[in-house]
């Protein structure tokens, strides 16, 4: 419904978050904690904007949050999980190897997200840099994000892939 308030949690589609890929040690423990806190902030039953693979990550996070002993009260807004991340070409060891354009691309995308403009992304360059931005484009179509509401909970590239966990608020277009 147009004008309806929306809470958004942006998380990366990291497959290492899934229990089926779990090891004895968690290589993404900090990221996992940030993702779970952000999704919990949405309240129960959020929608999902993600690829099929990203949707599995979102489903896992939502399931984990709903299984927690203390479920937070329903917030005064609909929740949406957006699964997306920056480039995967930031270092020599990155999945897509080093691309000198990656850092600049990610800086621009971070600035756009902070300005409440998730759709301001060069999609051709995103494809070349292995960035997953489909969820952001859908978010831009569906929600007007309030730039003053954007909170960055996690911002790092531990494996040469740029991850963000962000919380945002806005209204449905």
């Amino acid at each position: 419904m147009s004008g309806e308030p929306v809470r958004i949690a942006l998380v990366p589609g990291v497959l290492a978050l899934l229990p089926s890929y779990g090891g004895l040690e968690d290589p993404v423990a900090d990221l996992r904690a940030a993702c779970l806190d952000a999704v919990a902030w949405l309240g129960p039953g959020p929608g999902v904007l993600a690829s099929e693979q990203g949707g599995r990550v979102a489903a896992y996070l939502c399931g984990e949050v709903s299984s927690r002993d203390s479920v937070p009260p329903r917030p005064p807004a609909q929740g949406v999980v957006v699964v997306a991340n920056g480039s995967a070409t930031r270092t020599e060891k990155a999945p897509g190897h080093l691309d000198d354009r990656a850092v600049g691309f990610d800086d621009d995308l971070r600035a756009a997200l902070g300005a409440g403009r998730p759709g301001a992304v060069d999609t051709d360059l995103a494809r070349e840099l292995w960035a997953d931005v489909g969820g952001l484009l859908r978010l831009a179509q569906e929600v007007e994000v309030d730039p003053a509401s954007v909170t960055i909970d996690y911002d790092a590239d531990p494996f040469g892939v740029q991850y963000w966990v962000m919380r945002m608020e806005g209204v449905r277009r």
Partner: protein, 287 residues
Amino acid sequence: MTLRLGRHTFADDATLMMAIVNRTPDSFYDKGATWAEDKAFERVRLVVEQGAEIVDIGGIKAAPGVEIDAAEEKARVVDFVAQVRETFPGLVISVDTWRAEVGRAVCEAGADVLNDAWGGADPELVDVAAEFGAAMICTHTGGATPRTRPYRVEYDDVVRSAIEDTVGYAERALAAGVARESLVIDPAHDFGKNTFHSLEVTRRLDEMVATGWPVLVSLSNKDFVGETLDLPVGERLTGTLAATAVCALAGARVYRVHEVVETRQTVDMVWTIAGRRPPRRAIRGLQ
């Protein structure tokens, strides 16, 4: 089956490294390197640092040699067991002995496991284990007398013999009062066996695992490895680890070893391939 080794319990999917500590001047592999008590204690400290869950302390080499009576065997191991018990309370202490008299003394000193490598040669050993709540390793030797080498031994079916004898031994121990979760069976490679027997036991170890009793394997640097590869003691690690991998895939739970680190890595790798253990830390392709 959950394993209870004296004071210690282990989950039913845990694999355990039992590090060999010889208090002998003449064992085949280390040739007396830990005969001196301080050297033996250094060895215990090392294998604990390397992650061994169990030490197996022995006062008599398996092969024929100078007669060692019970008094001398006790002199070699009892005080040492007490010292290890005091210093490493979290460590499982096993003692390699077939004698009930020695078993009693080491249990009083703090041993958790009686490793009867000679398959019940002293029938009273099970009573000692029951009395002290100790675990027992029930081995197959084909009826061999302690400290003898196999000579023209043949079996209709060596694996069937190993299963019948070890399970029979475990059931005798159970009847004597040893806890079910404290009994382990061991086909005892090389003991009462030629190389073909030990290879067959290795190849068919899954049949022993299928009995439901936890299985221990003692493969480390043994002659069946040496004869298979025509390599002397000291050059058998690769062959040992290959045999270890086969036994791990079959589901052996306890590994009696000289080389703790290499065996642990081999067992963990195979256990993970078999889907019984997750990788330590997986991120490749999952970022």
